[in-house]
Point group: C3
């Protein structure tokens, strides 16, 4: 991994700097959106990073590689989005809004990272990031500029896209050896609490995520809708988590993830005048399908369909993203609105949703096939979900293990001795 | 717990959605206050949640049930506050300010949660949340609208109210079996550091808490007063923590809690022109009584008065809240001001303080009596302070325990064998 | 420590309150900068605190003493900066901007705290804070008012100053006994993840740090430059971290620290029209020298030059701070600009950089000599890097140790017995 990864990363950075030098300029915009940018920034680096840190031995990679993907991706996203959206006189102009969009673009790669978490190498993630962000930008251009659909909170273009892209990648990278229960795929008490840091910062700032690029006059509606959708979603998730457990106990994986599904699902239509109680309905349904997905669908996907979705992104981003798209279609059908000067139509919204999922699945499968090439040097199954494959890990953690080994060795020696004494006495 | 909790939670959500559908509309307000809302939101979900995560085996509940209470409570608070404050044409209008007030209302239930932490079930907390937020809203209406007292940072209406409500509940729910020292009531090294995440986010954003609903022109004063009150309080807390320990060592429970007392105590008069050095005096006194409360009062309350205050909310919210009320009375007496068009008077402020504490104690005792009904199925003492009563907890945490048991069993067998050999040889 | 520390802290607080009473008044400023203040506040209390929490047994001190230093320092900084900058009619006027500057002033003491972390007592840190903040304010006055140099993001006046001051202190306080590898100087798996909380909040909010006191019209440029400098720096750090390891593995200490060097280095010229790609170059070079510093320079400083730099502040703040100063000189030479009505010159910038480093080294050495006086009661080497010297630490942490001791004792007894049996049989 030493040279493959480092040469790739350093070379990419050199290329980015050159491209920035040639194509990028400051925009004379205002800093009004900076407050929204910062919240999105916290969600990307703290939220996504810590949410994935629930695994016992994969916290360094979750938080660290999350940072790497986002830092790399935001530069690449700036360039790709800039090229696509034209730019004045061939130049890409950087404003706070373009920084928000750059951060957004990295979210797709981070969602896909959740699907393959523990099974890919850092160098594979570099290429996944490059490919996915490029395709995301193309798909977003298709949805926003060509189809002229609405998706302000990006239920479809970020969440569904990132999830189905990642699921297709993980399907292609299927590892039969990981079907057995893996000790390292579990969480620990403290790793679950670290993950709650991610959950809560995502939950808290989600209204900013959905409203960041909403029109000025729509921001307040977007914030209100997202706030109540998330609140309803959280209560429903707690209720169902207890209901579906035989002893009525809460499940951390559900609380960490399904509580956020409301924010995903309300994204597409959060800036429409849907009424707060409709937002709460969307949030409640999102929590429900997310909980059901984790309980019933994820095991089936893994065992029957060879889709090993480490973080359950299908339940947090995939299904709620589709729900968001469908909600957008229904709202458009019921109550026609105009966005950015264009009449929203059921047809445009439906095309946006199906196009996004289709493109994500196809391009994800293609990306998976590229990542499967032997040149990347796949890690063996037994090193999956283990930071020590890619990180220097402090040794002290192994103390209990040492004790256990000592103890076992001790018992073994003793048994032999007892047998020996038994013979003598 | 399975059906009691889940049916209650899901039913409540359905009722909320219906009530929102009937009564709630968007307000055409601006997003100016959104920056303050977000800070309060972080304090409610991260601040309160992690502050309570100091217990060895109760981190899931602290962070998780905190989220549940707040997500449920903010919907309920929106409705109750909306009904009380009238609304235009019978409708409740949602603005950023009403969202801030909704978040505020949940703070009372979260403070009371700190008093009963580890001793109540989630279903009991649902009912506590409903009852407390309703009574809080009534008391706040009394203080602000009828008495027309000032309490911008809510020293009285949130902090003192939440604390004395919770103390009354915990008195009624008294468990003699918990008087003995409980292993699970301790912290661990890392749980104490998790708690500091809560402490620091509360400390950092407290100026926003106190200024969120202050008049536009008073915000800067409120921010400055809270900032310096907290700084003085923190230094005094460190000084006293060392002074009161025989070996001069700092106590984590004091640093986690008493450093925040200055923010509580300066709340009532933070938006008055009290001068920064007066704010620092209030902060210093708050730190002092908080430290003294933890050291000397809490043990007495537990042993003599049957008040088992798990997080010491009396010292963080109760006493500093009363101090805040008294400071408000003194400031009003010394330097009469006009707030919202009304002349502040010593009488109104005194009535607000004593009324708030009285209502909190009475309604808390009543709520405690309701929560004591056998229909809720109290958990046995030995399951208190233990997440595994309500959560699926990762197993691996028990490794050291397994080792210890193995080791003890091993020693026992060996002793028997030695005796046996002794007889033979 | 009991009386020395507590009397000092409490006495200082009394003095501060008196000085505030005599000299400090509210300023009638706006709250416009409050959004920037809050980010800086998070960086100071969460960012610096958790970044230093990587040590196995020093998390309480890192997070707690960080809070103490900052809470004390911001009051002292307010006074010192206020006295230096005159004030209207002999009064110091508090605005959000002065609060930002007060927080900034504490950053120097926190950086120096990183250099001596684990080796000084809390009472020593009180005096270091007082001395350093006073000298920082003088040096800042020299740089900004007398030399009229530019250093908006404070690469020189905060980062280089804090680092070289701290390095001089640690040189004077040199402890030969700590040269051997110390078990407690290591991290644990979870302490490294705690540290990443600090890293990420610093990384996320660094654009606010650099732009907080930039002129309104320069803020957007400053934010953009810092954002891309950090992104480039992070990618380069990951690349080099892998490249420099024999097995290509990432090093947590590098990811925690060197990823931030870009924010430090771009500080001086972030508000100049340097073009984003130049910011990225500066960030990349900063990451490179920071990584190289950690790998090659820190061991040499410790073994050859008696500079024991616990957190490696030389690599995060020292070298990148100097780089920032040099970048400022070069930019000034290439593209002359006017700041605050004054033409920037190479001479002024060079004088600012060399003056800052010189003053930091001299005053740091002097401060070290004062802290070395026997009256402070140095802790013995074996208590270094151990919270239990100054904090009540939860006992449960020692379980594995107990097990190990039990086990060893057990083995010892057993061996004796075997020998005894051997003789008998």
């Amino acid at each position: 991994m030493r040279f493959k990864f480092s040469i790739t990363a350093l070379l990419l950075e050199v290329i980015f700097i050159i491209l920035f030098g040639v194509f990028v300029e400051y925009d004379a915009g205002s800093v009004d959106l900076y407050a929204y940018f910062k919240d999105v920034h916290v969600m990307i680096f703290i939220g996504f990073g810590f949410l994935m840190a629930f695994l016992k031995k994969y916290g360094f990679s979750s938080v660290g590689i999350n940072m790497l993907i986002a830092a790399l991706g935001l530069q690449w996203g700036t360039l790709i989005q800039g090229f696509l959206h034209g730019g004045v006189g061939g130049k890409i102009r950087i404003s706070i809004k373009s920084m928000i969009n750059a951060d957004f673009s990295t979210a797709t790669a981070l969602i896909s990272f959740g699907a393959v978490l523990g099974k890919t190498s850092p160098v594979q993630m570099l290429f996944l990031t490059l490919l996915e962000i490029a395709i995301f930008a193309l798909n977003e251009y298709l949805v926003m500029e060509i189809l002229q659909a609405t998706d302000t909170g990006a239920s479809m273009t970020i969440h569904a896209f990132g999830a189905y892209f990642g699921l297709a990648v993980t399907l292609i990278l299927y590892r039969p050896g990981l079907q057995n229960k893996y000790e390292n795929k579990n969480s620990t008490y403290h790793s679950d609490i670290f993950a709650m840091i991610g959950t809560l910062f995502l939950w808290i700032f989600w209204p900013s995520f959905n409203s960041a690029i909403a029109a000025e006059g729509d921001k307040i509606k977007t914030i209100i809708n997202t706030y109540y959708a998330l609140a309803a979603c959280a209560v429903v998730t707690f209720g169902l988590s207890s209901l579906l457990d035989q002893r009525g106990k809460f499940s951390m994986v559900l609380i960490q993830n399904a509580t956020l599904a409301g924010g995903v699902a309300v994204g597409t239509c959060a800036d429409l005048a849907i009424h707060p109680f409709v937002a709460m309905c969307i949030g409640s349904i999102a929590g429900t399908i997310s909980v059901l997905g984790f309980r019933f669908l994820t095991p089936v996907l893994a065992s029957k369909m060879k889709i090993q979705d480490t973080c359950g992104v299908h339940n947090l981003h995939g299904l709620p993203g589709i729900l968001g798209g469908i909600a957008g279609i229904i709202v458009t059908a019921v109550q026609p609105e105009t966005k950015r000067g264009v009449q929203l139509t059921v047809g445009r919204q439906t095309a946006a949703l199906s196009g996004t999922v289709g493109i994500a699945l196809l391009s994800g499968a293609l990306t998976g096939a590229i990542l499967k090439l032997s040149m990347w040097g796949q890690i063996p199954d037994q090193n999956c979900f283990d930071d020590s494959a890619y990180w220097e890990v402090p040794e002290e953690e192994k103390l209990p293990e040492i004790l256990l080994n000592n103890y076992n060795e001790h018992s073994r020696v003793e048994s032999t001795m007892w047998t020996f004494i038994g013979c003598r006495i």
